[in-house]
Subunit: 267 residues, 2 copies
């Protein structure tokens, strides 16, 4: 039986999602609980492997089990054993052909920045601080240029190991918040560090060091050296996972380009 | 020259204020910076030694220096070197007779609780979660009973090592918040774990397991076994330090009882 689990986590005190030799990870927390319940190792498969310090408002994973436990009992059992920076929001039984990674057709991220004359210690780990004034309108103008299908080679970590660096963004916008802004980006998938590189670039635009019109030629250049910064992980939230093309069509219309995964891609 | 420093910190990732053999503390972070600047050890003296996991919206410490640095330069130097869960809000030069601990005539704490059907991972370390419904009015009624001068032996850790366990509370109230409540308490001083014991007791009142009218006899009993619970540290915030009797009179009127410290008391 395949079980699908919808979770949230506060990433500050995790080395990321994926299990590591040493240190606290989200995968480790769940596999420890599942091992205790199954008396054997049970592997979990997430939709997205978030990095150290990155949060998830919505994330999914699945696992296979022979235990006959009702979904709400799974939820209760896991929440009772989890630390208070991870929470299971929902559990359901899915078809054995369903796969959290391969069936994921899109993701939305939100990056939170707060501004002001003083750092706020209670935002530590939750939002990124930028003291300087930023031109939010210019940033939003630049953000729009990323919508559509592009090769994002110039806007991801050079460590990215995937065949194609072409991704489709359905949404890319800056919205003002009470004390700063959020960058919201929805796409078919994201390359390693891609959202954090986009945010760092948009902040350069906000400072007036880059122009919105620079985007097309930087995409064309496919050269990370021309886009050298990466925003810190603490402001980054995985906000939504699209597990079916219909959900994307619902949000962005029927004429969008949908990417279906065929291979084990690293995103 | 004696320097007074007003700070905030997010307590989640500290073992508390006071320096320890091993582990990260607030005192250690500042003394490391001051040692680098002075080329010798410089001891700092706080108004309050908060416990592991406890936050400070406002806390003070002082230290003595021979360095001739302007207050705003001290602030800049410290903030540049501090991690992002501590912040220096203000620096001033004070009289050499001033002492952060002995001149502290009162403190205010705030304890934050959120409620609801689900845990919120983004409140982890910042607010305490209670799922059950609570009778906030009953809790507030009970809270009022603590105002005034009482022996709080029954409402503190049995490890408390001070001569007198008499303290005066000027304010003790529960206020409803968007998704829970805050307990706000201002007093001449607080015994070890006292606020967390008060909160745990008030929650018992909220659940209907205790009555507001129980307070006078529990104060009278001076027996911690009758008040056995302690609320977790994560919801506790040191909110204000009163460094002069006039400030207390300003907030609570001229007929209040003011306690001045004479000895090295542990609160």
């Amino acid at each position: 039986m395949r079980i699908l689990v919808k979770i949230s986590y506060q990433g500050s005190n995790f080395l990321g999602f994926q299990i590591q030799q040493h240190g606290r990870t989200v995968q480790q927390q769940f596999e420890k609980i599942l091992k205790r319940m199954h008396k054997r190792h049970v592997r979990i498969h997430p939709s997205s492997r978030t990095d150290r310090g990155v949060h998830a408002i919505e994330q999914y994973f699945h696992f296979d089990t022979e235990l006959n436990i009702a979904p709400d009992k799974w939820q209760y059992a896991m929440n009772s054993a989890l630390p208070d920076d991870i929470y299971v929001n929902e559990v359901s039984i899915v078809d054995e052909n369903f796969h959290c990674r391969y069936d994921c057709v899109g993701k939305r991220y939100r990056y939170k920045v707060y501004q002001g004359a003083h750092r706020d210690v209670f935002m530590s780990g939750l939002k990124t601080y930028y003291r300087d004034d930023l031109d939010i309108e210019k940033m939003n103008e630049a953000a729009q240029y990323f919508i559509g299908t592009h090769d994002f080679t110039g806007f991801c970590s050079q460590k990215t190991e995937v065949e194609s660096k072409e991704r489709t963004l359905y949404q890319s916008e800056i919205i003002k918040t009470e004390n700063g802004f959020d960058y919201i980006v929805t796409g078919s998938g994201f390359l390693y560090n891609m959202v954090r590189v986009l945010v760092a670039f948009l902040i350069e635009v906000g400072k007036g060091k880059r122009q919105p019109e620079d985007v097309p030629k930087l995409l064309e250049a496919k050269d990370r050296k021309q886009v050298p910064f990466t925003a810190p992980a603490e402001g980054l939230y995985l906000e939504k996972i699209y597990l079916a093309p219909e959900e994307l069509v619902n949000d962005f219309g029927s004429d969008i380009k949908i990417h279906r995964k065929k291979s084990l891609e690293n995103d």
